[in-house]
Amino acid sequence: MALFGRRNVLLVLLAVALVLPAVANSYQLYIGNLVLIYTLLAIGMNLLLGFAGQLAFANAAMFGIGAYGTGLLQVHFGLPFAIAFPAGALIAAAVGLAISFPALRLSGLYLALSTLAFAQFTQWIFLHWEGVTFGAGGFKTPQISFDPLPVSKPVGLYYLSLLVAVALYIFARNLVASRVGRAFVAVRDGEVAAQSLGVDLLRTKALAFGISGFYAGVAGGLYSQALNYVSPEGYDLFQIVLHKAMIVVGGMGSVAGSLLGAGIIIIVLELLRAVKGAQEIVFGGILLVFVLFLRGGLISVIQRYVKGWDEPLHAAPPRRDEPPPLAVPATPVAERAAP
């Protein structure tokens, strides 16, 4: 195994994440938690856009539905977080499944516009369904307690986010290396060709939207607790741009790239606090550089120069008596060939 291969680097990152609460102040811990939450969002977005090729803009809405679902179930029905959190994620997944049906008839720009309209509609609901969502002023979510564990709420929440992020990262890796993941890629590369190979378009697209919605919903539930406050402006167009930026920077069609993209964008945005007013300019600059010169994202550079970062779409290792199979490119051939 390569020393600086993906598995070793990720294990080191995991070790750093595990000891972070012991060495970080509450601000750094909050940022660490945000990185984990946005990693979930980026993975979900990447499964839908990078792997399944669905140009959808509903991720921020799903994120909001997860946050509102989790928070409102606690506030209106008095449910504990342990129940409201998975329920909120499942609501987001169900909405994701529901919006996959128009995706069967739409693609490209039309799909993008219809999902953008859905995101705006969701914002409208958050703002105007006052009796349920508390309108534009938002609402405070109940505090959770990790008793009897001897951890404070921020530390407990951080470890919960870490646990969920690790579990869903592993799930995503296994998913893309499975028959389902290969079906996603087949649909992305050509719907007609995929159908001719026996891929069920309805099932595959619905799965991609549902799973992506679930990831965003889980992230939303954790976010509602990290902020202890839910309001419409947290799930607006800026979030859509942020999520897209993460997978563009990290690398479309790469689970590890999602992690890198989320980490880089969140940390860079925080570091830029020192340079007042420069956040938007630098953020835009980073996006331009990646769109123009590094269309495969950071992961494409790492995969080119460092051994052990390939993400094959096969789970089984190659047999010793056979030459290793070529890794199926995770990103479209056209994008990999781009400068």
Binding site: Y30, K140, P232
Partner: protein
């Protein structure tokens, strides 16, 4: 890495996390300086309520520092951008408290981000003086260490209704925006009207990006409204005033601090005479051109070349003077608890820019209850009509 070592690492890290030490007391204070944090929008449209008040805070601190500081300590301002976003406001306040180790905070521009950051600041016990956010939830119910010198939504709503009634209005109507900002004012306005037994004759809505108000104006005209309570940003308010004038509908137009500059509003409406019956609230006593604030005009223009003094600068000037007074009263042996106690004990304290005195108490942390009424006669200067005292 073996499974055993990963497990050991997990156990060790959780254990270490539990042993994190408590923060030391009196953060941000040295023998020669006191670090004060501020947060609000430095970029985007919300900068009016963030960057400009911060500039006001800074010139007050400069003046205090030139005079030797407070008990020999100079005030240092640390700015953080919240982009009018709740998550960013929490990050900003976490950074100010945990990393920059500020002693106190004076800030808060957009309401929802400040409301979201309330819990972080409350838990840390850092003295916090709000300079611009108006959401009632920031100070109600009161958090021990959070005080507001901005006129809150409820106070402004009460002042609008009181003013309309004092001007003899018989048929009052409302035209409002229903976004986050508008809702924060519309709801208490309706509650105040109900509490006073006033039945409105019409209730119209506009969006922040409205380009036409003909329908709203015609409905209000049909209802015979003689006073309109406006819960609008300057742009939709200007559209409304322009269309009302065009349709020969000239009731009393009653604004609030969202339209705090009648001169700029007159320019924005752009129709001579259309703003003749427009009255609005200012959190501050003086117009930027008033000779009484000459000192601050010079200070702002010297420190920030290209800027000219605005009412938003004055929000920061007033808030900084209140916080500085509390630090002064806390004495040389400075602790955050003493400053909080000094803020809670402020009674009839006059600052350079507010229309009335600042009074806080243990149970009421809304310390500014004297909204100022201003108007501008067509072509003339901005005139101060007087303050409404709200209890």
């Amino acid at each position: 890495m073996s499974r055993l070592s990963i497990r050991a690492l997990c156990v060790a890290s959780v254990g270490l996390a539990c042993l994190s030490p408590a923060l030391a007391q009196a953060p941000g204070v040295s023998a020669t300086s006191i670090k004060i944090g501020t947060f609000g929008a430095l970029t985007g449209p919300g900068y009016l309520y963030g960057k400009l008040p911060m500039n006001g805070v800074e010139v007050v601190f400069d003046e205090i520092n030139k005079a030797g500081g407070i008990h020999g300590r100079k005030l240092e301002l640390v700015r953080e951008d919240d982009r009018c976003d709740p998550a960013s406001a929490i990050g900003a306040t976490q950074k100010l408290i945990s990393q920059d180790k500020v002693f106190a905070i004076v800030g808060g521009g957009c309401s929802n981000p400040t409301l979201a950051a309330r819990e972080t600041i409350e838990k840390a016990g850092t003295p916090f003086v709000v300079f611009a956010s108006v959401h009632d939830g920031i100070t109600t119910p009161p958090a021990k260490n959070i005080f507001s010198v901005a006129t809150t939504s409820t106070i402004e709503s009460q002042a609008q209704v009181q003013f309309a009634l004092s001007e003899g209005a018989k048929k009052i109507a409302v035209v409002s925006m229903r976004d986050a900002w508008g809702r924060a004012r519309y709801t208490p306005l309706m509650e105040t009207l109900k509490a006073k037994g006033v039945k409105i004759v019409a209730d119209e809505e506009m969006t922040p990006d409205s380009n036409d108000a003909t329908a709203q104006v015609l409905r209000l005209k049909q209802a015979g409204a003689d006073a309109i309570l406006m819960v609008l940003y300057p742009k939709p308010a200007a559209i409304f005033a322009r269309d009302a004038n065009k349709l020969a509908f000239r009731p009393l137009l009653i604004g609030q601090t969202g339209i705090a500059d009648p001169a700029a509003f007159e320019d924005q409406v752009g129709v001579p005479g259309a703003t003749a019956k427009f009255r609005t609230i200012s959190m501050v006593r003086y117009t930027p051109e008033d000779p009484a604030v000459e000192k601050w005009r010079k200070a702002i223009e010297t420190k920030f070349p290209g800027d000219r003094l605005s009412v938003y600068n004055q929000f920061g000037i007033g808030a900084a003077q209140v916080l500085a007074e509390a630090i002064r009263r806390a004495g040389p042996d400075l602790t955050q608890e003493k400053v909080v106690a000094a803020l809670a004990g402020l009674k009839d304290f006059n600052v350079d820019v507010y229309p009335g005195p600042i009074s806080c108490s243990e149970t009421d942390h809304r310390c500014h209850k004297s909204p100022n009424w201003i108007m501008k006669e067509p072509g003339g200067p901005v005139k101060v009509l007087g303050a409404t005292r709200v209890e």
